[in-house]
């Protein structure tokens, strides 16, 4: 549930309308000028690569604020990060890198437990494994790409997540988009949350099964959709569905909300549908010992049929995994194309995950894992409550390290991003089409490596920029003790 002032909704729609109108006028002029100039001789009878309509959004809206996205970095994505400056001579149509970098506070990287930079336990082991196994296995898992690091990590992941067996893949996106077609085929039904990640949408489209969407995080709507679909059966033949699977995520990366897992599992069990939980953002970051959203919400891992996760966010590596029963993993090892034809995970990356999980579990002999988990929880709750006190509209549940600050108007997106960069804070802003049209936001990701001073600096900058840009939509809570300056309504 997002709340926004009515006037903001009107002005946002009006701004998008204005941008759209200007874009169409520019396209019209370009068509006229091109028609009078070249007469289409260059194409020589070939069809154009893209219709003018398809990339309208990219050309006329995205390119205008291109400097807020894809910023190159020049250091490890730790709490402070070096951002490369870019210059443009033609109003952001092309950007050129300069050789200057600015050190900024990093509020955009998925570095939940602080493993992204050099770690005292992990990095020496990773360098050792790089020397021993080299940077790549240069082979597919089934040929020669399974080192003993891979088998060790599979067992470790299965133990960590709480399932009998696990399988690894070299890329997180591919984990979803290659597994879902291996599990579901024609005649199956996939019911996915309306705000699921693009990898799940891609996998569902590629599988050939029928796809239905249910309203975000609402078990009642899920039940309605399930009942309707089970009663109707497959389209046109009305035969019963071969398999029904419900796909949800642990933490939704654009909202920062936790999934309503216990109720959704209860609904799925009632109608005998399989469940697939994508824990990309929640594994390692939430839960008392970092085991993800099942531990946090008290759901037995045996109730979720397939648990998926990535190593990119909390473990500072790259790759993904699927944890499920031994039979499912065995089946996937024989059928999933990402296992049979794709190169296996790089061995130093595997070693990084092994060491990171050992630190989280406390098996490296220290309690740094527990400290990190406590710190990220404290940091997230502190930051979120301070932002809400300042009057920002911040989404997300308590304990979630992802907090989107709502911007709404399209012009505030580049304004917020550039002003923050000017004050040495790097934030990530997201707009349409990754989010709904009205609901553009700046997404903050808190890390366990942020100290209290870093967070205070971040809060100060965001507050100043928020005043400049005008995104404090809610009344400010009066401060309990005297602080720097007061903000009036």
């Amino acid at each position: 549930m997002v709340r926004l002032p009515y006037v903001t909704a009107l002005t946002t729609l009006f701004s998008y309308g204005l941008l759209f109108a200007f874009g169409q006028m520019r396209d019209l002029f370009r068509k006229l000028i091109d028609w009078s100039k070249s007469k289409g001789k260059d194409l020589k009878g070939y069809a154009p690569i893209c219709l003018g309509l398809e990339d309208f959004y990219t050309r006329r809206l995205y390119l205008r604020i291109q400097d807020c996205f894809s910023r190159p970095i020049a250091s490890a994505p730790d709490a402070w990060i070096d951002v490369v400056e870019r210059k443009s001579n033609d109003h952001n149509k092309t950007l050129h890198r300069t050789s200057n970098t600015t050190k900024c506070l990093n509020l955009g990287s998925y570095n939940y437990l602080g493993f992204a930079a050099a770690d005292e336990y992990c990095t020496p082991l990773v360098i050792e494994s790089l020397k021993k196994y080299s940077a790549s296995t240069c082979s597919v898992r089934v040929d020669g790409g399974t080192t003993n690091l891979h088998t060790e990590l599979e067992e470790l992941v299965a133990r960590f997540v709480g399932k009998p067996a696990a399988i690894l893949f070299g890329m997180g996106y591919v984990t979803n988009s290659a597994i879902i077609p291996a599990l579901m085929g024609k005649g199956g039904l996939i019911i996915s949350d309306s705000l699921n990640h693009n990898s799940i949408v891609n996998g569902a489209r590629g599988s050939g099964a029928a796809v239905r969407v249910f309203q975000h995080n609402s078990p009642s709507h899920l039940e309605e959709v399930l009942r309707e679909q089970i009663a109707e059966g497959q389209p046109r033949t009305h035969r019963p569905w071969k398999k029904i699977i419900v796909i949800v995520e642990g933490i939704y990366s654009m909202e920062g909300e936790l999934c309503n897992l216990p109720e959704i599992i209860a609904v799925c069990k009632k109608y005998k549908a399989y469940t697939y939980l994508d824990e990309a953002h929640s594994i390692g970051a939430v839960g008392k010992s970092g085991r993800g959203v099942c531990e946090l919400l008290g759901v037995d891992t045996a109730d979720v049929d397939i648990m998926m996760g990535t190593f990119t966010k909390s473990f500072g590596s790259c790759g993904g995994y699927i944890a499920a029963s031994k039979e499912i993993i065995q089946y996937l090892k024989h059928t999933c194309p990402a296992h049979l034809y794709a190169t296996s995970m790089s061995p130093p990356a595997v070693q990084q995950v092994i060491s990171a999980i050992k630190v989280i579990l406390g098996e490296d002999g220290s309690n740094r894992g527990a400290q990190k988990l406590a710190r990220i929880r404290e940091n997230s709750n502190f930051f979120r409550s301070e932002l809400q006190k300042m009057g920002f509209e911040v989404l997300g549940d308590n304990d979630s390290p992802v907090m989107p600050i709502m911007l709404y108007n399209p012009a505030k997106i580049p304004a917020f991003s550039r002003e923050c960069l000017r004050r040495n804070v790097a934030v990530v802003t997201v707009a349409f089409p990754a989010t709904p049209l009205l609901l553009a936001r700046a997404r903050i990701c808190i890390s366990a490596s942020h100290t209290r001073e870093d967070l205070m600096k971040g809060l100060e900058v965001i507050s100043k920029v928020g005043d400049l840009v005008g995104i404090k939509y809610f009344p400010v809570e009066p401060p309990k003790h005297v602080e720097q300056d007061k903000k009036t309504l």
Partner: protein
């Protein structure tokens, strides 16, 4: 001014081209744009209010016909062309007919027509042009015209 807040839930519509229409404030924005364009026409041309409403009606016809019933597909390449044969009107609400949004969009040209006729006192060249505009728009929005291409134009 007391701030009115509205709540919004993201609608389960996967088509990014049409889901923006399901948010609060869209209808009001549409009506405000029509009203302000009438004021703009009045101030720029300095004509009678009736002529201004006729001009607004005709521009509204041209723009909405082009964008709702002529242009097909979506401005996003990620849809991979599944909507390439459907106009915006046909993509609305996933093809369901007679929803609230569709009824609203059908009523607006008719109301605009009545206002234009009333303020011009039903005089002749404006009467014909306005009637033509509204007839084409309303017929294009009928449920029976879903995916119909007359004489294969725009097919």
């Amino acid at each position: 001014m007391a701030k009115l807040y509205v709540q919004t839930v993201p609608p389960p519509d996967l088509n990014k081209n049409t889901e923006w229409f399901m948010y609060p404030g869209v209808w009001s924005t549409y009506l405000f744009i029509l009203f302000f364009s009438w004021l703009l026409v009045l101030s720029v041309f300095g004509c009678t209010p009736g002529m201004a409403w006729t001009v607004v009606n005709l521009f509204h016809f041209a723009i909405t016909y082009y964008f709702f019933h002529w242009k097909k597909g979506t401005p996003f390449a990620e849809d991979q062309g599944i909507y390439n044969n459907l106009t915006w009107w046909e993509q609305m609400d996933n093809g369901k007919q007679l929803t609230r949004n569709r009824k609203f969009l059908t009523v607006v040209p008719v109301v605009l027509y009545l206002i234009a006729l009333h303020t011009t006192d039903y005089q002749h060249p404006m009467l014909f042009l306005n009637t033509l505009a509204v007839a084409i728009l309303v017929v294009a929005k009928f449920p029976n015209m879903h995916k119909v291409r007359i004489f294969g134009i725009n097919g």
